[in-house]
Symmetry: C2
Subunit: 326 residues, 2 copies
């Protein structure tokens, strides 16, 4: 609480400059003095004040992460993977939630920048309306977009190839002999919704007419599922924009006693932990969150180590996970 580097230096019989150099492992300190400083720090139970270090060195060794919704297991897993790698690099993580509100997102980013984060990892919640704040932030610190990205080349991005993922699903369904498919997705206000919709329209065999758009929630999945059941003819498969929608669709189908996959096949996207527990277990597309987090952290680390700020987009190939639902 009260023990500063001055106390350590005094006890070791050296100047604060030498103590600082010894504690931060810099060269230019005789081994004898170095060990005296370390011994003194140990004896006094010295705990460095990271705030003071941050002020002078203009580096907080902390990083801001902004996600639309922490409680979404997909983002939570992503945050966990990022946190693990940051902790290993002795950096801290400031977490903020945008609740899919660009205005709140702007305030959150502002608060993080005031706190002098060394970099920003951001899942921009809106394809268009997040662009401005993202560009402002990128002018001040390194920024990497995760999972979603804004239109235009504002900052680097690391995510999954959404269109390719949907293609995997559509091809798998075709190989099973599925005739007509429907797509239940989200309005393309974010880039993933857009890419998955585009991917479906390109890959589906002329079936681009049977498309229902809402949001990425289980409630929407339930409503959309009910709506499809009320039609004259059930499609052979329902391709969902993510797992949460798919779980909603499944629960609507179960309520009406429709057998999956016998009467209709259902697929998801993301492979959240609960996809495997659904009845029947959900066929879906796995997003390699570990790889995404690793690449994002790698990009930032490179920037800190002096690499020039190139803006690049890295799309990681997703993987089809075949389970009982299709």
């Amino acid at each position: 609480m009260g023990v500063t580097i001055h106390d350590v230096a005094a006890r070791a019989g050296v100047s604060v400059a030498t103590a600082s150099r010894a504690l931060s492992g810099q060269r230019g300190v005789r081994p004898e003095n170095r060990s005296k400083v370390l011994a003194a720090a140990d004896a006094l139970a010295y705990q460095p004040n990271a705030v003071a270090a941050a002020l002078r060195s203009r580096t907080t060794r902390s990083l801001g992460v902004v996600v639309p919704r922490i409680a979404n297991p997909f983002f939570a897993t992503l945050v966990e993977e990022v946190e693990q790698r940051l902790h290993a690099a002795d950096r801290s993580l400031l977490l903020a939630n945008s609740r899919y509100d660009p205005e709140l997102e702007r305030r959150q980013v502002g608060a993080l920048l005031d706190r002098q984060v060394d970099a920003l990892l951001m899942v921009p919640c809106h394809r268009v309306r997040s662009a401005e704040v993202l560009a402002e932030a990128a002018a001040r610190v390194p920024v990497v977009q995760l999972d979603l990205h804004v239109d235009g080349p504002a900052a680097s991005w690391v995510g999954v190839d959404n269109a390719a993922g949907i293609s995997l699903v559509v091809e798998h369904l075709a190989a099973l002999g599925t005739r007509r498919t429907a797509f239940v997705g989200a309005e393309p206000t974010d880039s993933a919704a857009q890419a998955r919709l585009d991917g479906y329209r390109r890959a589906a065999p002329g079936g681009a007419d049977d498309v229902l758009l809402g949001d990425f929630s289980k409630e929407w999945g339930q409503r959309a599922g009910t709506r499809l059941l009320d039609r004259a003819e059930l499609p052979g498969a329902i391709v969902c924009g993510n797992d949460t929608i798919a779980l909603g669709v499944l629960s609507a189908l179960a309520e009406r006693g429709v057998a999956v996959p016998d009467e209709v096949r259902v697929t998801g996207f993301d492979d959240i932990p609960y996809a495997a527990l659904a009845q029947p277990p959900l066929t879906t597309v796995r997003q390699p969150q570990g790889a995404i987090a690793a690449e994002a952290v790698r990009l930032l680390t490179a920037r800190w180590d002096g690499a020039e700020p190139v803006s690049q987009r890295t799309a990681i190939a997703p993987e089809l996970v075949v389970r009982a639902s299709a």
Copy 2:
């Protein structure tokens, strides 16, 4: 980037002291000067450096949160609720993950304290082994335990009355005419596992013999479910230690074609979002995460506002959510 409070003061024609007072809304500044300062700050797009403010005022306006597993939707929701309330109070959240490892937890707490967090919100991952680091932290900053707590009165705690929750379940099952019940829980290394087990043993009508203990994972739920199926006689109901276990049990039952709730009833605990989507929808005990987060933040806010550090335990009453599985 480069504009400091000195620039603002110079442009407004006042001293930095006056500028500081005006910007932080203190009294003792003539309205005329106050508006001159605010205008200057606006014109220069002044962005205060929170690190500098933190150093002098010995207050970072940030708070550390340590949870065992961010990706667990229960903790993720808790973190989200806390974050929302902190953001409203213009405070930031430093997030750390202990991965149920007391040693990692210790390092995480140390890193947060070095960063001078104003308080710590912690879900101690071990009933016994988390006690020491918790006490050390509590000696430096206000600490509130969330959801779980260590043995002994190290720090305040806010959570749910686990034993009462299990009682609700057992009574509900009894009212349905369930004869024999089994309990699938977790080894009591954390306080919730302990309290739920104790609660079950007290509430169950002599059926304390049919108890299987593992961990709070879906894999354990699946294994335990299979094990129960291999017995001579199926119990009338399976009371699970949390929803994740219950979902695992449900998937094991579904695989063997056992009808829920007709052949066996199943209950969970927590009411995670996926409990309602299970087939059949899961009867469970809802933990009011919003209320827990609100109370924890309220406790800390009171401490910051000068209340004396009383150590108290607040158990919030949980609510039974009856769905189709029981």
